[in-house]
């Protein structure tokens, strides 16, 4: 099941690096979801991008720590919840650079992909312990 950890690591690394390279666009995209006020948006964006890259490295290190598992699960759950909450909305200022987590238009496929990723995290942890 090392294979599954590597797959998760690649997914998170690719997603995290894209967000890091286009962090301002990600900041605007997350801002459109109206989760926090402008004052805290910069903190939320910074935490999300940094967490994603750190999680990917954790998967490459085959970490099976409960805290690490909980954090990656909470992050994935966070994305699923904001997708559900905003599923009827269309985001004008979204550059559509992050179709997995914060797409311009939320489709059923996006939600399913995120739920699938959530399940992969659980399977990976249950196999590693």
């Amino acid at each position: 099941m090392i294979f599954l950890s590597i797959i998760l690591g690649i997914i998170y690394l690719k997603s995290g690096i894209t967000k890091s390279k286009k962090i301002y666009q990600f900041y605007i995209a997350i801002g459109e979801y109206n989760l926090v006020t402008d004052k805290y948006l910069i903190h939320l964006t910074t935490i999300l991008v940094s967490l994603e890259i750190t999680i990917s490295i954790g998967y490459f290190l085959f970490l099976n720590n409960l805290i690490f598992f909980s954090i990656s699960l909470i992050l994935q759950l966070f994305y699923i919840l904001i997708l559900f909450k905003n599923k009827t909305k269309n985001f004008e200022k979204n550059c559509n650079c992050f179709p997995l987590n914060v797409p311009k238009e939320i489709s059923l496929n996006t939600i399913i992909s995120n739920i699938f990723l959530f399940l992969l995290i659980i399977i990976n942890y249950s196999v590693l312990i």
């Binding site: 890091s20 940094s50 750190t54 290190l61 970490l63 690490f68 550059c95």
Partner: protein, 146 residues
């Protein structure tokens, strides 16, 4: 050990991303709207961009501005051609002879010279931001010599 590595990594990433985002926000705040520009005393290079695509090309024009600004005073002006046309300062746009957006103009107290139009073959062949900035600076120097 692994957790310590991750803890150090996330701390560094948090600081790095926070600083980058602050810089990006500061750059974005510095972009002028076409309706707000008063350039009576301005001397330098103006990068005219289309507001409707400014988010898409955010880092592209930021890099061009950064490279130019190292040597010459420069500013970015976003023109919104999709919304209310009354918001655009047409008088100034006409006086500066802006014919193409995006484009780079050298402005010296309302005297303007086109430095780069993004329709040019030279630009289309090598549209990298470093190259654009280099051509703009070369053209600026040529104009100043004449």
């Amino acid at each position: 050990m692994k957790i310590t590595i991750l803890f150090i990594l996330i701390s560094l990433l948090l600081v790095y991303h926070y600083i980058i985002l602050l810089k990006d926000k500061r750059y974005n705040k510095g972009i002028l709207n076409a309706g707000d520009i008063t350039l009576n005393d301005f001397k330098g290079i103006i990068i005219f961009i289309d507001k409707s695509t400014d988010l898409e090309n955010f880092y592209y024009f930021k890099k061009i501005k950064k490279n130019i600004h190292k040597e010459i005073n420069s500013t970015v002006v976003a023109i919104d051609l999709t919304e209310n046309e009354l918001n655009v300062n047409w008088e100034l746009i006409n006086r500066l002879k802006v014919e193409n957006i995006p484009s780079l103009m050298y402005v010296d107290k309302l005297q303007s010279h086109l430095l780069i139009s993004f329709n040019d073959d030279l630009v289309e062949k090598n549209p990298k931001p470093n190259n654009i900035a280099k051509i703009a600076i070369q053209n600026y120097r040529r104009i100043n010599k004449e």
